[in-house]
């Protein structure tokens, strides 16, 4: 039996990404969903990991025009901060501007040790192309991914990760989830917390050797 990744790669050759065709303008996908009509993304088995049970795993489109499984490709194995945003609401709630400042403090660690994922709550307007321009305008570097996708998938992500009550409209961008996926450490902060506090939080969940343990002294 083929692995899921092999299956997807094979599907790319024969199946157009029907469900995500609206995002075709975002660029050619590295991964192409086989979900189209007959296979729900959520029905696909996740790759598994310490936090796999918690995260939804829809197929999303990145601002770079890549298709990605949300958990498998963007969260698994990483230290990551996750926020919700929309281009329209940025003026009112400047979460992306705040993360742009945070990004500067992360320096070389971004894209190597830590990652940022920004999920739009306005997928109809925030197409990959729009997000690409938006990311560029905010100086997003490698390691900071903006994602969009099917409205129902964005809602699933929002209700799980960005919402207080697990239901309702995608109205707020206040919650910033951060954690260390392989170590299953997750917490939240206010998305508009000071940039140095957000950067510091990502360092909290890093795993550091006990400096006074016998093994550390060898």
């Amino acid at each position: 039996m083929k692995s899921r990744r092999e299956f997807l790669a094979a599907g790319a050759a024969v199946l157009p990404a029907l469900a995500l065709s609206a995002y075709a303008s975002g660029g050619s996908g590295e991964l192409v969903s086989a979900s189209a009509d007959n296979l729900s993304a959520n029905a696909c088995k996740k790759l598994g990991g310490a936090s796999a049970k918690y995260f939804p795993n829809p197929i999303v489109m990145t601002h770079e025009g890549r298709k990605a499984w949300f958990y498998d490709d963007l969260i698994k194995g990483k230290i990551v901060g996750i926020n919700f945003m929309s281009v329209q609401k940025e003026d009112k709630f400047p979460v992306t501007r705040n993360l742009a400042s945070t990004q500067e403090l992360l320096g070389d660690k971004l894209g190597r040790d830590v990652f940022l994922v920004s999920v739009t709550t306005d997928p109809d307007r925030d197409t990959p192309l729009v997000l690409e321009k938006f990311a560029k305008a905010h100086g997003a570097k490698e390691g900071w991914i903006f994602v969009t996708g099917k409205s129902s998938d964005m809602q699933a992500l929002y209700h799980k990760l960005g919402s207080h009550h697990g239901h309702g409209a995608m109205a707020n961008h206040h919650i910033w989830r951060y954690g260390n996926e392989p170590y299953a450490r997750w917490a939240t902060s206010h998305a508009l917390a000071r940039p140095h506090q957000l950067a510091q939080r990502l360092s909290w969940v890093e795993v550091r050797e006990n400096p006074s343990s016998p093994t550390a002294q060898l």
Partner: protein, 555 residues
């Protein structure tokens, strides 16, 4: 009208806690597993009493890190090492990883005395590579003991694996006033953003204070001594509700409204039993959270004789049928089992329905139909009961409003999924209130919500309730007391009186539904010198950081 619900009688299985039709226990609980656990099969564990050490500390204590150290030179030194180990929550469950102190979960019970300052050195030897919901970076808060900021165990004072922290506890009553003495305190983790997870893993314990009245000896011949039940008849009980995953390991969801466990534990055993003699007992009952509220009752005609609220002895005992406990609240009670024959069983039950982490549903079960918390089994008396219940305990200091220099309003609410105080999430770099040392203030605490409850906790100084929803408390209310946790129901507004004394520095006020606390419902306030003036930008306080070091051999 009381809620209808099946009762768990003796021998019944402990099922999941109440789940009325169309409501789930926890909206986000896919990993929690139902085990058919028989109640009352495990004896109640009693935590050992902490023992002082008589060995030199290396590196030595640094007095410059502690305010008023020379005035309160420690007379006893304790060492606690925080480690991960295996613990069995119930006879029929496998062992699960927990975090505790010197191999104990809950940690050892401290027996401290007024006038006898202590220092506790706590080494963090938790596994740095721990996999799971908790963070092995800790800070141990001694809940409302009157201690300086640097020894309070504040959220922004992390101690990482491999490091230690010295906690200096003067055991000195606020303002030097004997009426401010405390009795039942507790210590617990307070790590910023990870308090709920780390407390859930086991980082809690009791810290009891005694003096020349509450002496801890029921046979004390001193005319001043209260003679309250002591020794093995003085029993601390900490309640936590917890869940397990299908493998029987501790399970905690990422729900940010609050977490409700499927099983009640007392001293970290699921629904245990305790053998009691037909005599008086003193129970120090603490709701250790994370999010559940309790109204405790006995399935008998027995009443509680309440002698303490939030670790403060009341002016006089109050007779109560039930005890309400929001998270972190404590009640010291006397229960007299002398009317029971050996062989009798009495169940302690929770009568409050709660199906959401935000707070109770507002419904209350009929007596006998609540959820079992633990069972008392009466065994023969082993000796005469010479303990007493004095008519008067510790008077309240008179309310003096002359020193009040400031009124403040704090509104507890939420915005966009973040639990807020005055519209803000917690900011460790923002001072939300600067308070002149030696002054008194009136704080109005308002619940901006209509559906949720918040157990609001203010560190360092006890408060008295001046008004609850515009009215003073009625005579006989157990909340006519010094307190450190305020239960704020939907729409409630409460006026509190504080005096801020003795030490400079910063502390916090927060919701003690620790899930709300971790999701930002906290402020930072600071006691500043009176001459500092209103434009103060910096706070004078020693800010020690964690120090590197391994525990001594044998720990």
């Amino acid at each position: 009208m009381a809620a209808s619900k099946h009762a768990f009688g003796v021998g019944d299985l402990v099922g999941g806690l109440c789940t009325p039709d169309n409501l789930t226990l926890d909206q986000d609980d896919p990993g929690s597993h139902d085990f058919n656990l028989s109640p009352f099969v495990d004896p109640l564990p009693i935590m050992p009493v902490a023992q002082a050490v008589n060995i030199p500390l290396a590196p030595p204590i640094d007095p410059s890190r502690h305010q008023r150290y020379s005035e309160f030179t420690p007379q006893k030194i304790y060492i606690q090492v925080l480690r991960e180990f295996d613990h069995r929550y119930h006879r029929d469950l496998p062992e699960t990883k927990v975090w505790g102190f010197n191999g104990n979960v809950p940690g050892e019970t401290f027996h401290a005395r007024y006038g006898e300052p202590v220092l506790i050195r706590r080494y963090n030897q938790l596994p740095a590579n721990h996999v799971g919901f908790a963070l092995p970076s800790v800070t141990t808060h001694l809940h409302n003991l009157h201690q300086a900021s640097e020894s309070d165990g504040l959220p922004w004072d992390p101690v990482d694996p491999g490091y230690f922290w010295d906690y200096h506890h003067p055991n000195y009553p606020a303002g030097g006033d004997p009426l401010e003495k405390q009795t039942t305190q507790w210590y617990h983790d307070h790590r910023m953003d990870f308090t709920a997870t780390n407390v859930y893993m086991g980082l809690t314990g009791f810290y009891l204070l005694f003096d020349d009245k509450d002496t801890g000896d029921e046979n004390d011949p001193s005319p001043q001594a209260f003679g309250l039940p002591s020794g093995k008849y003085d029993v601390p009980l900490i309640l936590h509700d917890i869940s397990f995953d299908p493998a029987g390991q501790l399970y905690l969801s990422q729900n940010i409204n609050g977490f409700l466990g499927k099983y009640f534990t007392v001293n970290r055993k699921v629904t245990p039993y305790m053998e009691v003699e037909p005599r008086k007992y003193r129970f120090r009952i603490l709701n250790g959270g994370p999010s559940r509220f309790y109204e405790l009752g006995l399935r008998s005609d027995q009443k509680f004789i309440v002698i303490g609220n939030d670790g403060n002895l009341l002016p006089a005992p109050v007779i109560a049928d039930t005890l309400k406990l929001s998270v972190a609240q404590r009640h010291d009670v006397i229960v007299d089992f002398s009317t029971f024959q050996p062989g009798s069983n009495i169940v302690l039950e929770n009568l409050l329905e709660q199906v959401r982490g935000e707070g109770p549903s507002g419904r209350r079960f009929d007596k006998g139909a609540g959820d079992s918390v633990m069972q008392f089994r009466v065994v023969p008396l082993t000796g005469p009961d010479r303990s007493r219940i004095p008519k008067k305990l510790r008077a309240l200091s008179k309310v003096n409003l002359k020193k009040v220099k400031k009124h403040r309003l704090f509104k507890f609410d939420y915005i966009g999924g973040i639990w807020t105080v005055n519209g803000n999430g917690f900011d460790m770099d923002r001072i939300d209130a600067e308070i002149e040392q030696g002054s008194a203030e009136i704080w109005t605490i308002r619940n901006g919500g209509t559906r949720w409850e918040h157990p609001v906790h203010i560190h360092f100084e006890e408060f008295q309730i001046l008004e609850f929803n515009g009215k003073p408390l009625k005579k006989g209310d157990v909340n006519i007391s010094r307190k450190d946790v305020l239960t704020l129901g939907p729409g409630d507004e409460v006026k509190l009186l504080f005096h801020f004394r003795d030490f400079l520095g910063c502390h916090v006020m927060h919701c003690h539904n620790v899930v709300h606390e971790d999701h930002s419902m906290m402020i930072r306030w600071c006691i500043v010198p009176p001459t500092h003036g209103p434009a103060l930008g910096e706070i004078i306080e020693p800010r020690p950081v964690m120090r590197l070091g391994n525990p001594p051999i044998g720990f």
